[in-house]
Symmetry: C2
Subunit: 195 residues, 2 copies
Amino acid sequence: MPVAKGSTIDPERTRATIVHAATQVLYERGLDGIGVAELCARLGVSKETLYRHFGTKDGLVHAVLDTRSDRVIHWLTDTVSSSGDRPADQLTALFRALQGWYDGPEFRGCALINAATQHRTDAVRAIAARHVEGYLELLTGIAERAGADDPHRLALQLLILAEGATVVADHHSSARAGELACQAALALLAAAERS
Amino acid sequence: MPVAKGSTIDPERTRATIVHAATQVLYERGLDGIGVAELCARLGVSKETLYRHFGTKDGLVHAVLDTRSDRVIHWLTDTVSSSGDRPADQLTALFRALQGWYDGPEFRGCALINAATQHRTDAVRAIAARHVEGYLELLTGIAERAGADDPHRLALQLLILAEGATVVADHHSSARAGELACQAALALLAAAERS
DNA sequence: CCAGGATCGAACCGACCGGTACCATCTGAA
DNA sequence: TTCAGATGGTACCGGTCGGTTCGATCCTGG
């Protein structure tokens, strides 16, 4: 049955729905872990629709990664900005949010980093790099508010802790990775504030 | 020409040569980034030889990952053990070695973590988990020698820093990731030693 | 009510994949 | 000298991949 019986025809909405659903499936199975045919079946969409909206599978992948990066950065930014003014509290809230993510059954590491590992192409690596840059800006803001001598340096160290915690949570024990990274981050923050 | 004219026939040596060469190619191109045919061409080996030694492509991948993990752990263990008795010096040597790795043109992140991301199977994840465990043992030894209250906790934090530095070096700037992680590690070490 | 666009379902395509089979050729030990 | 085994080269297999096409069906704006 072409065009579901009660469905509204709205290309924009269709596109958004595809991106949203594909985000989960591609994260769970990996970019190459599922073919276009099965992917379309999961999304409840025909191949023609998918190719009209995204051109190629890579086009869908890029759209998925772009929106996922935006969502993650917004999520963390909101988490930080809604946890008061003190840098220590903001870091605590950030790592607590990450820990909550690690604890979920669907956790599979950072989707952007994973994607860049699976598709080592300029396009995907650029999206991942932009994602990391956004992450870094958020952390730089915290480091600046803390009055660190070299905010960029501290921010990079915090980024290392966050990404490292994500890797360790995925491949060792997810139970305490966020918490341990948080303690380390607070220690670095305290040292930077003292100077 | 079957069997190169001057080559020695030695199955063990052939196998080791295949593993060694495949390690580089699979790291550079990714586990799924190269087919068996092209892989064999690169290795200078026929498909029949490869399949007689490893059964399947996965068999080769597992052998490659096993030996790579051993090599990395030995490399880091040697680096640490040949840098004196002071934990701070050992950590400095370890992160300096990592930084040297990041700076190389062939650096593409941690091969074991990458593999587990590309092939999310029990077998590969088990190899990666064992690799991380070996990494952790090395760091735990350092934390114990430092007299930390909770050596396992400090070791996990150091592991987070090392893996995080590897990720950041791969996807942001490789220039200072190891150095910054090292400074953070030394700060944590100093705090643990004070208590 | 009609025309045009959005969608589905399915068939189809060429390319490539992992894996197998066969044979000529060379090595190394008996 | 002989012969079993290791190897290279090549053709081949079924399956799956990303991508295209087509017709039937349904929505929606005019």
